[in-house]
């Protein structure tokens, strides 16, 4: 199944890698540079016209609106309240995971970025 994935990361390298991985697996990737940008994309409507992405992948440490803030904002919006959100971060402390979980994250992937692990995690939360 082709999923619409919103990938949020301030690093262009990571954005490119996520896109390459997801596109290669037949999914559609929409990228955003930070949390604010991601929310703006949702406000403007996704390029493929869907009401919401099937999955959000987000970094934690980003300028303007960080990952935790983005997750909270997404959980407060009716249309994304239950959308799976994967955290992709090098920050791996249990505290951070607990924070992400508290904010409403669905799962997490610890960098270094590994395409197989990303796709595996995607399977667990969005089929």
């Amino acid at each position: 199944m082709t999923l619409s994935v919103l990938a949020v990361d301030d690093s262009r390298t990571i954005r490119d890698m996520v896109r390459l991985t997801l596109d290669g697996a037949g999914h559609r990737t929409i990228v955003a540079e930070d949390g604010e940008h991601a929310l703006r994309i949702l406000d403007d409507g996704l390029p493929d016209g869907r009401p919401r992405p099937d999955l959000v992948i987000t970094d934690i440490n980003m300028p303007r609106l960080d990952g935790i803030g983005l997750i909270r904002a997404l959980r407060q919006r009716p249309e994304t309240r239950l959308v799976p959100i994967l955290v992709l971060s090098t920050e791996s402390t249990q505290t951070l995971k607990a924070q992400a979980r508290d904010a409403g994250a669905t799962g997490w992937i610890v960098k270094p970025f590994d395409p197989d692990r990303l796709l595996q995690a995607l399977d667990r939360v969005a089929g």
């Binding site: 990571i14 300028p63 239950l82 607990a98 979980r101 409403g104 969005a126």
Partner: protein, 690 residues
């Protein structure tokens, strides 16, 4: 056409991004040192190192990751207020930033680094953090794995019994965006799995709260599915569900439970299972010892501004030289020598700036490959595209504007140039036709050839068609090159049915116009039975032109210097009238058609007495020449080309405009068009006499 490895492109992106991040890092640290930074600065500094670490990890650049990680820990301490941003700390961070830059570049180029410097900075970082060390170690521990299944050692020799599990989601599981469906599906991908859904707890519809969790599942896993597999599948829902895993064979479900929640860091027992760090992704290329030229990303607007400024500099230089010469200084004076050097430097700067805009033609050739394939499949011809000189660089603007004409020429080559397979076979040629695209530099211009190995131009047919269209009189004595040139006449087409490919009313005349707009020329060479080559010659840049500045009809104008072969002052004796409309000028024993520019441009009516005027002997197409009379030659100099804008369509005979030193706009002439649109200058255009 196999594309390049996308990972290579991302790797390049990463190192480019690193340069930006390093710049932001140094800028931020400088601001903090100067006392002009704030919390945001600290965050952006942290993020820069963090992002470098993230990307480096993805490419398995372990040294870089390790160093960036320790550096990041130091910055984290700053960020969280555990250390002060004092001069000592900032000095250390600046040293670390420099070293990080060295490591990034060394990783990029596959070069060794000074491990001693690295160790010294790391030691100082450790010293700075002091007692904060343990937290740093804790950071490294990303250990989600908390599930331990004791398997009976006695069964070790047999296949392990399939595992069973009972799975009861809490409400929170759903609210976190998790879905048992996906988890169970992930599990069942590992092998045949029996899943039973227990619905006993479901209330009546009226009482059902859609946000509550009523269902639970029992699962019999496929043989060979291990506890670690299950742990992986349920990784994200640990603490959000009740999960019990048992070995199937075990009659008594000796439960092994998953810890109820993620313990906060301080509760992690010492020696808790710590899985090995994940292996570096296999797709990440090992650092290779290639030297990449460092690049910067620059807005095209900025480049264009620079190009314009250099253009103005060139004009200014020319004017200065002129006024010094007019001042009567001897040619060997120090001032003149200095001016010569200035001229040379100006030209060098100009060339360098133009290089910035230059891009290889390869992507355009690649796009044209697709046009060939499409045209081949629509005509049913077998066509092979060969390219050469893809690395030839050409001004970006020229490149962009070449797509349409080249597309049309390629379609023409496949559609009209190449014969059908039967005809080719009969001529002893392979069924598969070849279209060749070649690019190279020659004497300051870019040459692009589009060749086919088809039947060549059918001149008899061209002649017949031209007569039929009234482009040629029946008794005209035309040379082969005259006939070839007819292809570029508006409305000319040798194919009787309008082709789906090359049709649409667009002919070679439009291609020629497009090439001329770029300051280019197009020529044909053809050999019957062997094929046809269209050769385009283009200037390297659209920005500057070597021009001859002169006056005619009261206006100052410019002719491209390359088109002017020589000049000659007109006397009455040189002039002959062939017909009332057409005159010729004797130029060293030859007779050239003559045009009076002011008359051609309708600045004044026809005048009979041209004595005292200056005739420019102008090179037109295919080596033919004509004479163009003007009132006075003012100068030879470089001019900056300005478009005439889009507020009015093309003006016949006018290529562009320029702005002179006095601020007036002067028009730049197109010598070929000028001739074609001149009244009383109809074909034949070839020289009238030997």
């Amino acid at each position: 056409m196999a594309g390049p490895d996308p990972m290579d492109a991302i790797r390049k992106t990463f190192f480019l991004e690193c340069e930006d991040l390093l710049e932001a890092l140094l800028e931020g640290l400088d601001a903090l040192s100067a006392g002009t930074g704030d919390t945001d600065t600290v965050h952006s500094v942290f993020r820069a190192v963090h992002s470098i670490k993230g990307g480096a990890g993805a490419f398995g650049l372990d040294r870089l990751v390790t160093f960036a990680h320790r550096f990041e820990s130091g910055l984290d301490a700053l960020r969280t207020g555990r250390i002060e941003a004092d001069a000592g700390a900032l000095q250390l961070f600046l040293r670390a930033a420099d070293l990080l830059g060295d490591l990034v570049r060394a990783s990029r180029d596959g070069l060794p680094t000074d491990a001693g410097a690295e160790d010294s900075v790391l030691a100082d970082l450790d010293g700075l953090l002091g007692t904060l060390q343990e937290e740093r170690e804790e950071d490294l521990d990303f250990a989600p794995a908390l599930l331990a299944i004791p398997l009976d050692d006695d069964d070790a020799d047999d296949a392990p019994a399939p595992l069973r599990l009972s799975f009861r989601p809490h409400e929170e599981l759903y609210l976190s965006g998790n879905d048992p469906r996906h988890i169970l599906a992930a599990l069942s991908r590992l092998g045949p799995t029996e899943v039973t859904c227990h619905t006993e707890a479901l209330p009546d519809l009226a009482a059902l709260n859609p946000e509550s969790s009523y269902l639970h599942w029992t699962v019999r896993c496929a043989p060979g599915v291990t506890a670690a597999d299950i742990e992986g599948a349920f990784e994200f829902v640990a603490g959000l569900c009740d999960l019990e895993v048992t070995a199937d064979a075990d009659p008594v479900p000796a439960a092994v439970s998953v810890p109820a929640d993620l313990p906060p860091p301080d509760k992690i027992p010492p020696g808790a299972s710590t899985p090995a760090p994940p292996p570096a992704p296999s797709s990440a290329p090992a650092p290779v010892a290639t030297t990449q030229t460092p690049t910067v990303r620059v807005d095209l607007d900025r480049v264009d501004r620079l190009v314009n400024l250099v253009g103005e500099l060139v004009i200014n230089q020319a004017m200065l030289s002129q006024s010094v010469r007019q001042g009567g200084l001897p040619p060997n004076s120090p001032v003149m020598a200095g001016l010569d050097e200035f001229l040379q430097l100006t030209r060098d700067i100009q060339d360098s700036v133009m290089m910035i805009r230059a891009q290889p033609i390869k992507p355009l050739f690649q796009r044209l490959g697709r046009i060939v394939r499409e045209a081949a499949s629509r005509t049913g011809k077998a066509v092979r595209l060969e390219t050469s000189g893809e690395g030839t660089e050409i001004d970006k603007t020229v490149l962009d504007k070449l797509t349409d004409p080249l597309t049309h020429m390629i379609r023409n080559a496949v559609d009209h140039g190449l014969e059908s397979a039967e005809v080719r076979r009969a001529a002893g040629k392979p069924d598969e036709g070849t279209v060749h695209l070649a690019a190279h530099h020659r004497s300051g211009r870019v040459i692009i050839d589009v060749s086919d190995d088809g039947g060549g131009l059918d001149r008899a047919r061209i002649r017949a068609r031209a007569i039929e269209r009234g482009l040629l009189s029946e008794d005209a004595d035309s040379t082969p090159s005259d006939l070839d040139a007819l292809l570029f006449q508006p409305g000319f087409s040798t194919v009787d049915t309008v082709s789906d490919l090359s049709g649409r009313g667009v002919g070679m005349d439009v291609v020629k116009r497009a090439i001329q707009t770029l300051g280019g020329r197009i020529a044909i060479t053809t050999e019957p039975g062997k094929g046809t080559t269209f050769s385009i010659s283009l200037p390297l840049t659209l920005a500057i032109l070597d021009g001859m500045v002169f006056e005619a009809g009261g206006e100052t104008m410019v002719m491209p210097l390359g088109a002017v072969l020589e000049t000659q002052t007109v006397t009455g004796a040189d002039l002959d009238a062939l017909t009332p409309e057409s005159r010729v000028l004797r130029v060293r024993g030859r007779m050239l058609p003559l045009l009076d520019l002011g008359e051609v441009l309708a600045h004044h009516p026809r005048r009979d007495d041209l004595a005292g005027c200056v005739a420019l002997i102008v090179q037109a197409e295919g080596g033919s020449r004509y004479a163009l009379t003007v009132d006075r030659i003012a100068d030879q100099r470089q001019v900056v080309i300005k478009g005439l804008g889009d507020s009015y369509g093309p003006i016949p005979g006018i290529a562009a405009a320029t702005i002179l030193g006095d601020g007036q706009v002067a028009l730049i002439l197109d010598p070929i068009e000028l001739r074609e649109h001149a009244p009383g200058a109809r074909r034949p255009l070839a020289e009238t006499m030997p």
